[in-house]
Structures are given as C-alpha cells and as structure tokens.
Symmetry: C2
Subunit: 221 residues, 2 copies
C-alpha cells in the first residue's frame, strides 16, 4: 500500500497533491487507508446519484468529470491527470460522473479515514481550495473569452500540464474538448485548423497526437 501513495508523490504537481507536505503520522494514515483502483478506457468510476464515500487521486491515465443535462447537453467540468485529486462533494452523493479517458489507475481514499487527522484535514482543505481556484479560472474562460482564446488556451494549459512535450497525446475526443470549453465540436475543430494553418500546431494524428510547434503563440492566445 506504501507504493500507492508514493507513486502519487512522484508524478504529482505539488498543488493538487493530497500527500504533499505531510509529515509521517498523517502520511502513514493516508497510506493505511489508500486503496487501489483501475479502470479501462471509457469506464465510469462514479456516476451522478451514487453515494460519494471516497476521494480519488489519479495515479496514471486521464479522467474527465462530466455533468449531463436531461436534454443531452454536456459540460465537461475538468480533465484530470496523474496527481490530481477529485471526488469532492458537499453532499454524500456524486453530482457528476467520472469517466476514464484511457486505461487509468487511482488511489482511493475513503472519506471516513480522512476526517481524523488534523494535518490531513488541513491538507485536504488546501487541495479543495486549489480545485476551487481552478474552477473559478475556468468560469472566467467560459464567461468572457472568445472561442479562439478558449481553444488556444486549452491546448496551452494541457501542454504545460503534460510537461511541455513536443507532441501532445490527447486522451480525449474533440467533442469532449468542446463540451469542456462550452463550444461545438465543429468550432473547436475550426479554430484548431486555424492554429494549424498559422503553424502553431501540427496536424492532429488519428490517435490524438498533436505536435506543438509554437507554444509561445498558443500562450499568447
């Protein structure tokens, strides 16, 4: 079980990481309660209405959190990568679904075990704050940025999050990106095509490979 938490530690960004900044007692508790979980691409970790009894940390792979309206409208709340923690709910019930975008592995932390150590609780709050800030940031994008800005900004942030690779391996479909950015798939595709014509990115490969040629131009929007 030790390896579970340590894997998180190795791959995570410091900010969203649950096990960061913990001293032996809290870390020990975290290790004691962590459970392993694995999902294949497309599988659902939890769905709306299900009881929310754990937090999850992504170890490998990629996940998205999705809310769906009755009439089929979808909002992808976030894409999550190794080190990210998710599953926060104000009530004891999930309000969105978590869907693996590829074969993924998770640390599962039962909520019951998280409320009994002060340092752990404080850390938990810090991680929740990071999620909250992330959400507010995205609110600004959805409310006040143009389609071009959203698309370029999205790929820039993804590129940074994935350690600035020469080639981005998108685990999600363009439809998912569109549902994240509050746009239509066609709109995302068009703006991506514009970036390609401008020499900012290369052609999108069939397996989701996207060469990033000019990250600076992406950042500038």
């Amino acid at each position: 079980m030790l390896a579970l938490v340590d894997t998180c530690q190795a791959t995570a960004t410091a900010r969203g990481r649950l096990c960061a900044c913990l001293e032996p007692p809290a870390l020990g508790r975290l290790r004691a309660i962590a459970a392993d979980e694995r999902l294949a691409a497309g599988e659902v970790l939890f769905a709306p209405g299900q009881p929310a009894q754990s937090l999850y940390g992504v170890r490998q792979g990629a996940v998205m959190l999705v809310r769906t309206l009755g009439d089929g409208r979808r909002q992808v709340l976030s894409f999550l990568f190794p080190g990210d923690v998710f599953g926060f709910e104000p009530d004891a019930v999930h309000s969105c679904s978590a869907i693996a975008l590829r074969r993924s592995g998770f640390c599962r932390f039962p909520l019951a075990g998280l409320d009994e150590d002060l340092q752990l609780a404080v850390r938990l709050h810090a991680v929740a704050c990071a999620c909250l800030a992330e959400g507010l940031e995205h609110m600004l994008r959805l409310g006040r940025m143009t389609a071009a800005e959203r698309v370029a900004g999205f790929f820039y942030r993804l590129w940074v999050r994935l350690d600035r690779p020469a080639e981005l391996h998108l685990p999600m479909r363009l439809l998912d990106v569109a549902d994240h950015l509050g746009l239509r798939m066609e709109t995302v595709c068009r703006h991506l095509a514009a970036l390609r014509r401008a020499g900012v990115v290369g052609p999108l490969g069939p397996d989701g490979d996207l060469p990033v040629l000019d990250p600076e131009a992406l950042r500038r929007r």
Copy 2:
C-alpha cells in the same frame, strides 16, 4: 465577540455556514478568533494580489467576487449573502476582488486560527466543497445554457436564496448580473423585459426592486 458568530448562525443557510455543526470546543475557538468588519456600498474588502490571511463570513449585506482581465473584461464569480463564506485561496494571495454591493458586515476569521482544531478543519473543508459545487454548477450554466435560461435561472436562484420574497431587492446592477452570466448588460435587460412582458416579473424599480409574480415560470426557465 460571541454575538458575531451567533449572528452568522441565525441568518445562514446550513450548507455554506462555517459555524454549523460545531461542538463547544471548536465553536469556542471560532468565536475567539472572529473579528468584526464593516464596509459601505462599493467598498473593496480585498483585491487581487493582496495577501490572503483570512476567511470571511457575510453577516449582513451583499458582496460580489470579481475577476478582471487586463482589457476590462470582467467575470463576477459569485454574489454572496448573509451566511456565505468566502476568501478561499490556494496560494496566500487573493486572486479576485471582493466588493460590497451595499453596506455590509462580515466575520473575519484569520487563517492562522483555523488550522488548529480538527473539527473546525473538517467543517472548513465541507464549506469549501460547497463552494466548489456551486462553482461547478455555474460552469454548466456558462458553458451550456442559453441567455434566456441564464437570466431566468439567475433570478430564480436569487429569489430562493433571499427567502422567496414577493419583491426581490437587487443589490447589484444589471451590468454585474451580465458579468456574472457571461452576457452583455443589454442582453440581460432584453431577456428581463421579455419576462416582464410574459408576466413573470414586474417592472424593475429604480432602486432595484423586482416583483416576482410567477416564480414557477422562472424556475421552468
């Protein structure tokens, strides 16, 4: 100092309330560290870049949290009313401004005092989760709802939040509403006019009074 926290308790919704569900020791600590703060309409409680050293609970009045882009684009992240808690930041610096919409009073809770009691820390996390969920909800609106839905939904939620009064007293300008909903003021005004023509709301008074004639129609969108 006792009265401060108790005032929160009296007026707050259970969910976002910091002092809810606390037993004497934690409640005592909360009371011990709570400080009073008052602002006139339009005054700024904190601004981006300022050190974030406290959480705040609204006691009376109304506040909005605002993020502004360099080019003047604004996103109102949330409107806050008695009982709401705000000031969560992942870093020790504020990322948005808090602006009083009218004469308002706050409980100020220094962060330093919040990290030392387990029950308090757990409660803090619960409140942060509630904020987070609120944010995700709004993300869905910004990303996937039409202007008409956003406007109607906004006034419906405000009406519920303010205890379903016959007449809504809007503390904010239409411009603020627009910047909250990712719309233009004119668009908000037009859809509000449509609701008026449909007999769902009455005419908007000069001091922000808005009779709510058919809440059910508002809820239906």
